[in-house]
């Protein structure tokens, strides 16, 4: 137990050092990096990905994966616009409805995975296509604009001196860290990831736990979508394409094992900040958006490669 704890802590301290080094290099590279404005703005930009990394950490610790988050995100963006403008719901109701539909989409994943025993990778690959297809079919390439000014509070304005969505991210971050680290539900998640059969025979409600985490994954993707629409003030059906890549990279970079059983919310937070710092630093250094995707892809592979090498040495 202490050995396992040591290993986790070791990964997080390595990550922390790496993060400090990256920040130092970036600060040396560009004057613009270490300004309060830039840092708060980065907090705004990483909120959507950051929110989705929280349930994804739970999902990956159980040994599963959710590739459909980007598509649920896109579907919820479209539904928000449609509920508000076509169905004629008041905007607050439309926001809640869109987020709930995200939860329904996530529950759909959970049911396919638990009830029909489809591997999560395949189930969510199928729903990745299905949910994005629904978004495209419903949207018919039309975008919805013209939201009232108060709606932009969520994505564009500040609350107590920091971007509103950063507060939401911090609150949910603390809640997720508490649930995963301090509750029996959190222990259940680790138990499923370490040995699902043993967890089942120990009387843990494995299927119910999975339904909860995949449902939450959809719900939070919906929340992130509403925040995103508020930030960019329009909806399009291709929104959130490739979101899953950013999310999984941040989680895996944060030390969560892709094979399950290991990982923390703190690690995910560090991984997220490191990734955002890399993106921001590259952008300040003049690398265009597409160049940064290359780096994220390379970092994802490298992070797991190094993690595998380290853990194999550790297991001796």
């Amino acid at each position: 137990m202490t050995a396992a704890l040591d290993r986790v802590l070791r990964h997080e301290s390595i990550l922390g050092l790496l993060l400090i080094a990256t920040l130092a290099v970036l600060a040396g590279q560009s004057e613009a990096f270490f300004t309060a404005d830039n840092l708060l703005n980065q907090g705004r930009l990483m909120a959507e990905v950051g929110l989705v990394t929280l349930p994804m950490t739970f999902v990956i610790i159980t040994g599963g994966i959710d590739l459909s988050v980007g598509s649920i995100f896109g579907l919820c963006c479209i539904l928000l616009g449609v509920f508000w403008q076509k169905v004629g719901m008041p905007l607050p109701v439309a926001m809640v409805a869109a987020i709930l539909m995200g939860g329904v989409a996530g529950l759909g994943n959970g049911i396919i995975i638990t009830r029909f025993k489809v591997p999560p990778l395949i189930a969510t690959l199928a729903t990745l296509a299905l949910y994005r297809g629904l978004a495209e079919g419903i949207a018919q390439a039309r975008s919805v604009r013209g939201y009232p000014d108060w709606f932009f509070q969520l994505g564009q304005y500040d609350f107590l001196g920091a971007p509103t969505q950063l507060w939401i991210l911090i609150a949910l971050f603390i809640a997720a860290a508490f649930v995963l680290g301090m509750t029996t539900f959190g222990r259940t998640i680790y138990a499923i990831g370490s040995n699902e059969v043993a967890a089942r025979f120990s009387g843990l409600k494995v299927d119910r736990a999975k339904l909860v985490i995949y449902g939450t994954s959809g719900l939070i993707s919906g929340l992130a979508a509403v925040i995103f629409v508020s930030r960019v003030s329009t909806t399009r059906s291709d929104m959130g394409t490739g979101l899953e890549l950013d999310v999984i990279t941040a989680v895996v970079l944060g030390g969560t094992s892709i094979f399950g059983g290991r990982g923390t919310i703190i690690g995910t937070g560090l991984g997220l900040i490191l990734m955002q710092a890399l993106k921001n630093g590259l952008a300040l250094a003049g690398v265009k958006g597409d160049g940064t995707i290359v780096v994220i892809g390379a970092v994802l592979i490298a992070a797991i490669l190094i993690g595998n090498l380290l853990s194999r040495n550790g297991d001796g």
């Binding site: 591997p119 990745l128 296509a129 297809g133 495209e136 597409d290 940064t292 994220i296 595998n308």
Partner: protein, 325 residues
């Protein structure tokens, strides 16, 4: 008993055996016939030779890419980067062609690069033990981001006519169709009767058993990915030569279309079973569905939702069938 003897297929003795071992392929074939007859009755222009040719020519490259994808999935892995790879290789082929390199170089170099890139993916999967989904997810963004930053999405035009492989015709039929049919049949026979073909099934079916039988899993997985890279290369050449211009970006969702063809064609996502005949039939079916939406006056924006439903339905049916057995 040697592995070859164990793995040798049971000869088909009756229709029942054929129906059992080619269940999914027969279902797809039936669906194709129903679709052609049904849509043809509703709108006869669907069956015009111009439309049928464009359906086949525009999608033959998907069927060819699905051959390699099927092998990868049968071996128990997956590749979500194939769309980006085809985009990159097609752009390389076009760039070589407009710069005046010999045509054979323009065709072969991208195929070779495809083999090398995917061999690297195979090494990372087999030797570094990184799950294929993670490696190829990373590779997807490396290839896609790399391509767009290198070219800015510029169009390549003024391609020499002798480079346009997909537009060559033999006995009135476009070359893509010959490539699709010949490669599918060759790969199907090779998968069924060669030692290496059986090895792929063995690895996907039960890796532990395969290891105990003396199969070198790591080496075979690298080979499977390399072969998949070759098919992706051929697909890229046909993709790049079907129109007069090459748009140097990644065709959107191509990887999903290719995976759909494999999975709907009966390749089990759990590995170990399926044939490339099924994946080619499914690629044709999917192309026909896409084309029929237009003739049925359904918005093409629903195509992807149909695609998603098809994957989901097949996967659920596959799981149900496995549990019954």
């Amino acid at each position: 008993m040697t592995l070859q003897a164990l793995a040798r297929p049971v000869p088909a003795r009756s229709w029942r055996v054929v129906a059992e071992s080619y269940g999914q392929e027969l279902v797809i074939l039936g669906a194709l016939i129903v679709l052609f007859v049904g849509v043809g009755l509703y709108n006869p222009r669907f069956l015009s030779s111009t439309n049928l040719t464009s359906v086949f020519v525009g999608n033959a490259f998907i069927a060819i890419a699905a051959i390699g994808m099927s092998m990868v999935i049968i071996s128990g892995n997956i590749d979500v980067s194939v769309g980006s790879l085809i985009g990159v290789l097609g752009t390389i082929a076009g760039t070589l062609a407009v710069n005046g390199y010999p045509i054979i170089v323009c065709w072969l170099v991208p195929i070779l690069i495809g083999v090398v890139i995917n061999a690297v993916v195979g090494v990372l999967v087999a030797y570094a033990r990184i799950p294929s989904i993670v490696v190829t997810l990373g590779m997807l963004s490396i290839l896609k981001g790399g391509l767009i930053s290198a070219t800015g999405g510029a169009w390549i035009s003024n391609l020499p006519p002798e480079f346009m492989l997909a537009q060559f015709r033999l006995f009135g039929l476009p070359s893509s169709i010959y490539f699709m049919v010949i490669l599918t049949v060759a790969a199907a026979l090779w998968m069924r009767y060669s030692t290496f073909g059986r090895t792929i099934y063995a690895i996907g079916g039960n890796p532990e058993a395969a290891r105990v039988t003396g199969i070198r899993i790591e080496r075979s997985v690298v080979a499977v990915f390399a072969i998949h890279g070759m098919f992706a290369g051929i697909a890229a050449i046909l993709f790049a030569t079907q129109l007069q211009v090459i748009q140097s970006t990644v065709p959107p969702n191509l990887e999903l279309t290719v995976i759909t063809a494999s999975v709907v064609g009966g390749v089990s996502i759990l590995g170990g079973t399926g044939t490339v005949i099924g994946s080619t039939l499914a690629a044709i079916l999917f192309a026909a569905i896409g084309s029929s939406l237009v003739f049925l006056n359904v918005s093409a924006y629903w195509l992807r939702a149909v695609q998603g439903l098809m994957i989901l339905a097949t996967v659920l049916a596959d799981m149900a069938r496995r549990r019954r057995i």
